[in-house]
């Protein structure tokens, strides 16, 4: 397509060199959005929820850069502490609720908690396999503001009681025949309770909601991952049924 514009290749060796050279030309630094995003997440995670000067300054930088996606991410991470990377993969996506299989509970991340010697040859399973499949859809502005606002009270940990109430509501709405609204509620649950004790239950509800909203593929995908990490779940039999052809 662009061949007319290219210098004709000389020898194969010259072509090889020009391919390698093209990569060196491409060796750009990580964009600020990535650098600050990671710094912010890590600073907050390192301090485990305390709002350190570093985290504050980084948040400021993110705001100045208008990096909303990262800001939303950071806000949630602020409540999540070191387990944060689990959350990182769900926050920006929360609005893409339906089609994407962003495992809200990310069992994968929790499954690999045994201390591992360095370097991490067994780490593979700790890497959420889904994240690359997740499209990072920028959140609508209302959601951004909510997420950003939640930074302020990041230290207020919601109680188990409100967690139960949130899932009860989702369950009721699902039973009422509104799976899309259920997915929204589950996204909100996720944002509010990033380390919630009831995440497996939330995931189970999500699978049902996906299934009822006609997203059978996503439901099965999530169900398979759920089962892989919670083979003894009380919901296992039902989920197996969903997976069987």
């Amino acid at each position: 397509m662009m061949t007319e514009r290219n210098s004709p290749p000389g020898t194969a060796e010259e072509l090889a060199r020009s391919l390698i050279a093209s990569a060196r030309l491409d060796a750009q630094p990580a964009p600020d959005v990535v650098r600050y995003g990671i710094l912010a997440a890590i600073s907050t995670a390192g301090a485990l929820g305390t709002t350190s000067a570093v985290a504050g300054a980084t948040l400021g930088a993110l705001r100045r850069l208008g990096l909303v996606k990262w800001l939303a991410t950071t806000a949630i991470v602020g409540t999540a502490g070191v387990g944060a990377y689990v959350v990182m993969h769900r926050t920006p996506i929360s609005t893409a609720n339906a089609g994407r299989v962003h495992e809200p509970e990310q069992a994968v991340a929790r499954g690999n908690q045994a201390p591992v010697a360095v370097p991490p040859t067994t780490e593979a399973s700790a890497v959420p396999a889904s994240s690359a499949a997740e499209e990072s859809t920028p959140a609508p502005s209302a959601q951004r503001h909510r997420a950003a606002a939640s930074t302020a009270n990041a230290s207020e940990l919601p109680s188990l009681e409100s967690e139960v109430a949130a899932l009860d509501l989702a369950r009721t709405v699902l039973a009422g025949g509104d799976p899309m609204r259920t997915l929204e509620l589950l996204d909100q649950y996720q944002q509010t309770f990033p380390k919630g004790a009831l995440r497996p239950e939330a995931t189970y509800l999500r699978i049902q909601a996906l299934s009822k909203s006609g997203q059978a593929g996503s439901a099965r995908d999530l169900a398979a991952r759920f089962l892989a990490h919670h083979p003894k779940s009380p919901h296992a039999a039902q989920l197996q049924a969903l997976l069987s052809p």
């Binding site: 072509l15 995003g37 990182m88 004790a197």
Partner: protein, 192 residues
Amino acid sequence: MANLMVDKRFLAAIGAEGRASYEKRWRTLVSDHVDFIWRALRRLGVLEADLADAAQQVFLVMARKLELVREGSERAFLFQTACRVASDSRRSRARRREAPDELLASRPDERPGPDENLEARLRRAQLDRVLDMMPMELRAVFVLSEIEELTMAQIAELTSTPPGTVASRLRRARAAFSEHVAQLHEQERQGG
């Protein structure tokens, strides 16, 4: 909530001063390695559109494990995590290809960078296609050697692989690269 318990115990044990130095270690780590990891992820086959998430993911895996990672081994940990993230990314891209309406979204972003001409862009796309044909273990060694210009000893350390294995992988990677480039060259020569 197992991880939370570990973290709490850990953080209680290290105290306020420990937490401050923990955080300082983080900052150093990010500034020292983020550019390297960014470049590595690109050449290990992560698409432009997925790079930011992949980079986040690499560092957050590190975040969870920091207290277990020896000082001085951080880059190796990050690089090896990057290899796995890149492999996952390629696998999930392959899955996405099965869904036709998502094909467009998964196309490589081949926009030229600043000051980049068309030829450089084409060569880079060709390079990525050639690298895509290599298994990750060969690709990683090849990228570190030929693009990052690291020594065998450095590569052995980064990949936690014995030097002999690095040498043999590099030989195989170079042979594979030459072979693919020769095919490409032949196609271009024939005007393809």
